[in-house]
């Protein structure tokens, strides 16, 4: 079964404590602690030891998407507290100023592919340049972003083909034409289903759909529908992969 959870930012904007409380009441086993704004990261890092995260099998932290470039080294020092716990750090490639400084996180650094507004990190071609600068980094593959860039899902296919070995986490939601996140529609479910066979079962899924607490379970179910698991063993996996590749035409 896939590990599926939520970003606290999707559930409670900047209030990660509230997001955590909402998620503790669900069956989610994965959580991304979100500090998208610069002023959110310090309180988050300083409260890590006091958070009750026992029910989660997978925990990651989303680094700020924008910050004062002069404070990049301070940010890295703070994020080392996250890395000490062996938790992945999700970062937008356009937020990085000094790539060499971020190499310290090695394979705990997860680079997220970007939406159409950005000029970097949107396609396999653009990502390859980033991974050249961060050779050990892994990929946080945002399906909604990639679908917004290429609704045919071909680019998703190409990214997964090229960077499948680096895949560490998924971001799942519907990204609308204003580049904001929405709950999954049938259209997104159907699009993501096309490439689900290329995503190993052990890759954690973090939902970024902004939903009220009473809709969390429903959205988790939608995510399972969008990302069905490919059976493994005794040639089943191969047959199922072929079946799904046939579906992805």
């Amino acid at each position: 079964m896939r590990l599926i959870g939520f970003s606290t930012g999707a559930l409670a904007y900047s209030d990660f404590q509230f997001g955590l409380r909402i998620l503790m009441n669900s069956h989610a086993k994965a959580i991304e602690l979100s500090a998208l704004r610069e002023n959110e990261i310090s309180p988050l890092v300083h409260s890590l030891s006091s958070l009750n995260l026992a029910s989660f099998k997978y925990i990651s932290v989303h680094a700020p998407s924008k910050y004062d470039p002069l404070r990049e080294s301070e940010l890295i020092v703070l994020l080392k507290q996250v890395a000490k716990r062996n938790w992945p750090i999700i970062v937008h490639p356009d937020a990085i100023q000094n790539f060499a400084a971020w190499r310290v996180f090695a394979d705990l650094l997860f680079i997220e592919n970007m939406d159409k507004r950005n000029l970097m990190g949107r396609t396999a071609h653009e990502l390859s340049g980033i991974f050249q600068k961060l050779p050990e980094a892994r990929l946080c593959f945002d399906l909604g972003h990639c679908r917004q860039v290429d609704p045919t899902m071909n680019e998703s296919y190409l990214i997964l083909q090229q960077f499948g070995a680096r895949l560490g986490q998924l971001h799942v939601s519907e990204v609308n034409s204003r580049s904001t996140h929405d709950p999954l529609s049938d259209s997104s479910v159907s699009a993501f289903e096309k490439i689900a066979s290329l995503i190993p079962e052990n890759v954690p899924v973090i939902l970024e759909s902004p939903v009220p607490p009473e809709k969390v379970q429903f959205e988790l179910k939608r995510a399972r529908l969008a990302l069905p698991i490919t059976p493994s063993g005794n040639g089943n996996r191969k047959r199922e992969t072929q079946r799904l590749q046939t579906a992805f035409v």
């Binding site: 159409k116 860039v149 609704p151 045919t152 071909n154 034409s177 204003r178 072929q242 046939t246 035409v249």
Partner: protein
Amino acid sequence: MSYGDKMAGTMKSSTPVAPIRLLQSKIGKKWSTIDQASTAAIKTSEKLEKILTGLSSTDAGVVVFGSLARKEWTSKSDIDWTLLVDGQADPQHLEIAQKVAARLTESEFPAPGATGVFGNMTFSHDLVQKIGGREDTNENTTRRVLLLQESRPFGKPDAYDRVLRLLISRYLKDDRGLRFGTIPYKVPRFLLNDIVRYWRTITVDFVEKQRGQAGHGWGLRNAKLRMSRKLIFATGMLSCFSCELLCSPKARQELIKHNSTVGMEEHLRAFVKLTPLEILSTFLLELKIRKRTANKLFSAYNSFLTMLNDSKKRNHLKDLRPDHIPGDTVFDEVRQYSRDFQDGLTDLFFNDNKKLRDLTIFYGVF
């Protein structure tokens, strides 16, 4: 991105950058007007990029068609453009389209023709959703097919790139014969049929305009029909045949084994970004077509562009009506080079390469 980069991984062999230049050196000929028109197009494009700065967004971008996109810019070329909208509705889009028109006029670029196909807004949904059927109007077909065959974006290319991907994806994914058919060839017939349909529509509309516009502009339209319009039809067919003849083995295997069109879509996406003359020269080089054929085709096209660049002859043709043809020396020239061009195409498609001939017979008529 260079031609080599564009084709990397999607083509069997990669013809180096600037296939027209390579062709010239291989057959020892120089087609100076083609070279000049290409250089002029690059300079005009640079100028246009500056003029249109700031008008494109990720949801709506300026796309130019015609001679500028084909890199065949001559002294009297106009700019056929549209604001391609692929995003949420926004009343500002009309304002942007009006700004594009105003900036082009301020910079003394001639306005597009009066057909209404260009010089306004185009919505991606019409292009992508209405392929065929009652609502696929003449304008919609024209914009869609020309987007595939002779277009380039200015400013932010995001909307253009998305729509191009979607169009190619629709043509290939909806083509059940291509994906599941048992015939040995892998040619996107749905796309091919649309290209053929567009060409036939132009030829029929030519006669309609002859009648409706009382022969006004007939001579120039006739010359363009025989040359530049025919070129994009021929290279449209070649683009489709490239899936069989020039696509990478990997992309073909994906299609044959897994019915996946992803590799072939990538191949086509890169291929259609070449200009028609680059597509033609790529085929002449890759399929080792006879030098005589290559020379015939390119020399004829060079003569056509030379004539368009000669304002006296161009104006003469513009004013020429059908009943004034007999004895008209300028039209005799058009007739001569267009016949050479036709002969060259016949040799290319039927006489010089068996595979191309087989495909033309198989897909060209029935």
